[in-house]
Amino acid sequence: MEQRLANTWRMTVNEKKFIETALLSDLRVDGRRPFDYRKLTIKFGREDGSSEVQLGETHVMGYVTSQLVQPYRDRPNEGTLAIFTEFSPMADPSFEAGRPGESAVELGRVIDRGLRESRAVDMESLCVVAGKSVWAIRVDLHILDNGGNLIDAANIAALAALLTFQRPECTLGGENGQEVIVHDPEVREPLPLIVHHLPVAVTFAIFDEGNIMVIDPTYKEEAVMGGRMTATLNSNGDVCAVQKAGGEGVMSSVIMQCLRIASVKAADITSKIKDAVDAYNTERALRKVKRHPPSVALEVSVPDVIMKENQVDELSRHRAQNLKDEPERSCSNDGTSIGVEISTSRGKNNAFIGGPSSWDPYSKGISSCFIRSSQDLPGPLYLAKEQEEAKISQNSIESDPEAANTLSSGPVGASVASQQANSPKSLKDAVKPKNRKKNKASSTSDMS
């Protein structure tokens, strides 16, 4: 008891008078103007659907989870949305663990009303089997630090978490086609929630018997204020909810002015939330792109050359083979990855030595068309080629005169030819003669 008495935050008479006097001249204690928000930071956790919002000193964490449940009887084809708030005792000495107090219930209600009544989250898309199985979305809001204006910060945390949340995809299956199978996120991409618009809560604190309104009160201003009003609007200018629970009376003209100011602030906050969510989504997408192992990265500097080499049959054949083996790599869009992809085949080629053309009836043709394109090949190839040339000298007799011929035409040509000759050996086991013909046909069409 003594401890709690000592720990309670107390307001002095001096502070109360000062805050009120300063507001008469439009000045707030932290230097803001009456309609300025504090600095807003939105961060996301590693999991989908977890957000952390800092509004000045106030710190709120939002967490969204989903579960398959039976729908309500009167709404058999809609999902459900529930908001839970937790006022942690570390946020404020007056918060106690256990049952939510009055302010906790009010906060949960205001945010819930803003999302539900305005139908911000699409509920019908959450239905899996009408009447039997729907998704129940649960939003948990944890207050970590009470620096004033919990409603706004918690609302932003809820919106940010809902926008980045992804629920697992589920299909109907089983024996009778009625069983719901929930797919693992690794197997099927999870789906985001459909959010039509963002209802943003803007809180006003009332001072001086209803004459002065300020936005985003701090902890001290909340202790001194006469009353509070929260307006939830979206960027389209629709009023989703208004909450004014007790406190000083305010004239209707002042309320209309507040709603106008709130719509401007709501648009501003909506754009900030959207920017943060976009940045997070891009980063998440980048994380999902599977990268090649680092040893291949050395070859990346030769993308242009590789494109020209595509015209060469052997390489294109290998590329087709590689593409078949690793569909994921081909899915990535940027040019560097394609370059890397091809260089892996080149890497493989470098590893193989041997009598290439003994089984390859097309080698002569390949080398001739290679000679045509060889003039285009620039310098960097020389490095790899010289290695190949060394290998060529050890090759079978058949390849030697061929190699010698190509060598005379140009060193580059020789190495590439031998390289191409070498490369088939690696794929010899995998490639059937039929495939080679098909690929050759496709490659000729590529060349043309």
Binding site: Q3, A6, M11, K17, F18
Partner: protein, 242 residues
């Protein structure tokens, strides 16, 4: 963080350095006949002096050593001057909140010329500048609004102005002599009154609310700035004012 070699005179090299609990600061077996006074945060373990609190080791010539750290909580110490808030009044004492583990008692007679006839009336929430008279960890601390000789000496209630809370480290920095750079720079351009409590409470009063707001924000921001940085910050604030 340095574990001292017994051959060095280690205390001198540790002074004004950061130390953490467990550091051995001095090995007494190497010292000749000297008297060393240990302040808070230091403790004698037979032959060694070791550190108990994290902070900076300080020396006051000739032989007083202690560890200084900054907290948001206040541990009452005798002869500290602090700012308290009246919570309740009893027949014998006022109950005053001093940001410590327990509430403190301020006897109703502990004022200059205080008798049973002229007991002051403080409403709940009055800010007082007081001195700690008794402070044990088992009892509620006792305060007084007079200095040791019984004179008022600026103690008592503070009128108007604005109070804000900081850490104990910042309060000590503001009270240091020579004058802290931020206060010196602010004092050159603005005129104001200031009362600093060692429990981390600061009260400022100026002629206009704008000045008071600037003062409070400048002081709060100056905690982790060096001297030159503090002066630069005040310069920028003054330019904005004009």
């Amino acid at each position: 963080m340095k574990v001292e070699q017994p051959s060095d005179p280690p205390l001198n090299s540790c002074v004004d350095q950061l130390v953490v609990p467990g550091d051995t600061v001095l090995d007494l077996s190497t010292m000749s006949n000297q008297t060393i006074k240990l302040g808070e945060g230091l403790r004698q373990d037979s032959d060694k002096i070791s550190v108990m609190k994290a902070g900076k080791l300080r020396l006051s010539k000739p032989n007083k050593y202690w560890v200084e750290s900054s907290h948001k909580r206040y541990v009452p110490c005798v002869e500290d001057t602090i700012l308290g808030i009246v919570v309740d009044s009893k027949p014998d004492n006022f109950l005053v909140d001093i940001k410590g583990p327990t509430l403190a008692f301020l006897p109703v007679l502990a004022f200059e010329g205080g008798t049973r006839r002229n007991i002051p009336k403080f409403e709940v929430g009055t800010l007082l500048y007081v001195r700690v008279v008794k402070a044990n960890n088992s009892m509620n601390p006792e305060l007084s609004c007079t200095d040791a000789s019984g004179k008022a000496a600026e103690f008592g209630p503070l009128k108007d102005g604005y109070m804000f809370e900081t850490s104990t480290g910042l309060a000590r920095m503001l009270l240091s002599s020579p004058t802290c750079p931020v206060l010196e720079a602010l004092g050159k351009k603005l005129s104001f009154e200031i009362a600093i409590g060692l429990n981390g409470r600061v009260w400022v009063n100026a002629s206009s609310p704008a000045t008071t707001v600037i003062l409070s924000n400048a002081i709060m921001k100056s905690e982790f700035l060096s001297g030159t940085q503090q002066r630069i910050m005040v310069e920028k604030l003054m330019q904005k004012l004009q």
